[in-house]
Homo-oligomer: 152 residues x 2
């Protein structure tokens, strides 16, 4: 297999990234048509913020994975930054080939480069295989993740 | 009881906020002397970022609570912003008086003002009373929270 390239996403990657997001969402119908201008506005908000990165994982000229990294300043741990990993997706036909492992290890390395004290993420409570995956990479399930939806 | 005032923290609030952070941390010795310049650097990083807010809760001219709000752009949910609540603390002698409820409801309202689709937080797995508190305010424990520490 060729090498996985991990890089910041461009607008040209958006269709592939949005297809991955739409494929695996709860509830299944929560996303809109990829041409909805709100997606482009969100991309531009991420791109404009030096503490946000939308990542494209590319294999053989195809975008096969995505994730978002956020770098958060904070007072805790003697004023440490922390990294947050969100919206991790891999195309269905390439799962089980350790691409996710490459993506997360790369993300952790980016957090080190930004001098983060820790990296955090949440994973749906039902996705126990994902929890084992992250545990193998050193993540400790020390917290519960709670969400409050403000609108439909 | 007087009204709780919720506002952005200033450097004058830092000693009180750092005392609350140091009091209730895991591990207990993870914080440094409040005069450590890294705390001021972190405060300045938060203050410089329009998507970060360090909040002071003031009662009768005393800082009695704190939390950090982060506003995160993202592609999911048709390009929705999300709010993240971190580092919630209340002084020991004023717990059990629903100040936390006022703080979180105010934080949720700030997230609405910023047009967030949802508000998320993590809470230590052992703090079951905190989970019930957040559940009463409408938060759903849908996720697990995992952390990887990159350095001591």
């Amino acid at each position: 297999m060729s090498d996985l390239i991990l890089r910041d996403a461009t607008t040209a990657d958006l269709p592939a990234i949005l297809a991955m997001l739409a494929e695996e969402t709860i509830p299944a119908n929560r996303e809109a048509d990829p041409s909805d201008p709100r997606y482009l506005a969100a991309f531009e908000a991420i791109e404009a913020d030096p503490n946000q990165r939308l990542i494209a994982a590319e294999l053989d000229d195809r975008v096969v994975g995505t994730m978002q990294l956020s770098f958060l300043p904070g007072l805790s741990f003697i004023g440490s930054w922390r990294g947050l990993i969100e919206a991790v997706r891999i195309v269905a036909d390439l799962r089980g080939q350790r691409l996710g492992e490459q993506m997360i290890l790369w993300a952790v390395d980016q957090c080190r480069t930004r001098d983060c004290k820790l990296v955090q993420l949440t994973s749906s409570a039902t996705r126990t295989a994902a929890h084992r995956f992250y545990a193998r990479l050193g993540f400790v399930q020390s917290h519960v993740g709670m969400k409050l939806h403000l609108r439909e």
